[in-house]
Amino acid sequence: MRITQGTFSFLPDLTDEQIKKQVKYCLDNGWAVSLEYTDDPHPRNTYWEMYGQPMFDLRDPAGLMMDLEECRKTYPKHYIRVTAFDSTHQWETPRLSFIVNRPPEEPGFRLKRQEQEGRKVRYTIDSYASDQPEGQRY
């Protein structure tokens, strides 16, 4: 099951040219881009690992592409995303993020139903991938 998180995730994966344009858009808005990666695809997993520092002084997407290339080499089967941070006073938050790398196989999620007193049911989802320890999931 192909996971969809962040901007454009319903579209086919972005090509490198498209990623560059998207990063350019972020830079033109004065946002600092950074790379993050994870192998835990749960939608509530908001804290991904940072790859390197946020790139505050970047002028051109080629700088990010250089790091992305390295990151993909190190974590070829992880999810990698670009996050654009707006440091303007009172924004001070990510404005945009999108996936730029994903595992070749995404086994998807198991839906668990926990039956409770009365006829209550609690639902939870659990990714098959995270049955394996970190680093061995994809």
Partner: protein, 314 residues
Amino acid sequence: MSAADKPEETRADEKTLDADAKVDLDAVFEASRIQEVFDQLDHDLVGLKPVKTRIREIAALLLVDHVRRQFDLASDSPTLHMCFTGNPGTGKTTVAERMADILHKLDYIREGHLVSVTRDDLVGQYIGHTAPKTKEVIKRAMGGVLFIDEAYYLYRPENERDYGQESIEILLQVMENNRDDLVVILAGYKDRMDRFFESNPGFRSRIAHHIDFPDYRADELESIGELMMNEENYHFSDDARQAFSEYIERRMRQPHFANARSIRNALDRMRLRQAKRLFEARGSITKSDLITIQADDVRASRVFDEPVDGEAGA
């Protein structure tokens, strides 16, 4: 590969031209607005003939390249990494800044900013520190010009474990693989740069343009002084101009002479003396007083006390 997913090198309005089509080079030149850049360069920078000539050649190359692409004549975009050699204060840093602007106007680089660094910005203090540092700088320079001043300090042959080598290797790789993303300009003194290239032939072969910045002649230094004065809204009285000319003659023959930089420093001190003179005189002053540098402001310099080479007592 279909035309649609080809990286955007040719713009939508540039259809491939027929083999017998004619292109008006004058129009291309006109459209690039590069003449403005040349004029500005001639106006702002005194002398530097060989440098200006080379800039014109590069501009011509890029424009012709542009037209060639309209005929769909494939060729790699030319390598434009450069090396500027010359004595202190001959304008290397100044020209590098201009170069970023020029290459941007010629559509060769995407952003046109200059990131100016020295060894300390590139080389780390401990194992594992250098690569991220160098890459950080390269990332910042992407889309523009990376200017490495006194590049030979990157290479310290006396210490074989020196981290500079690691930085050199990363730079070499980027200069080769990211030619479309950034232009690297190395700068430094001629003899040391030559020695640096001898030990690092990889660098020399990746650099297409070696440009030598000559020392300025006395009359050029005078014009430079005059230009700097005008920029700051000052001007010399006739006596002061004469004194300044003598000043330059003497200063050129004294130690630690740094071409245009010495001139700039001298002018700063003259302004200081002018201010002191005005302030001590008190009373009312006019606009013309504020603008004018008098001969005394120039002659008070200790350059006039110190002996120069070739004079008795030197």
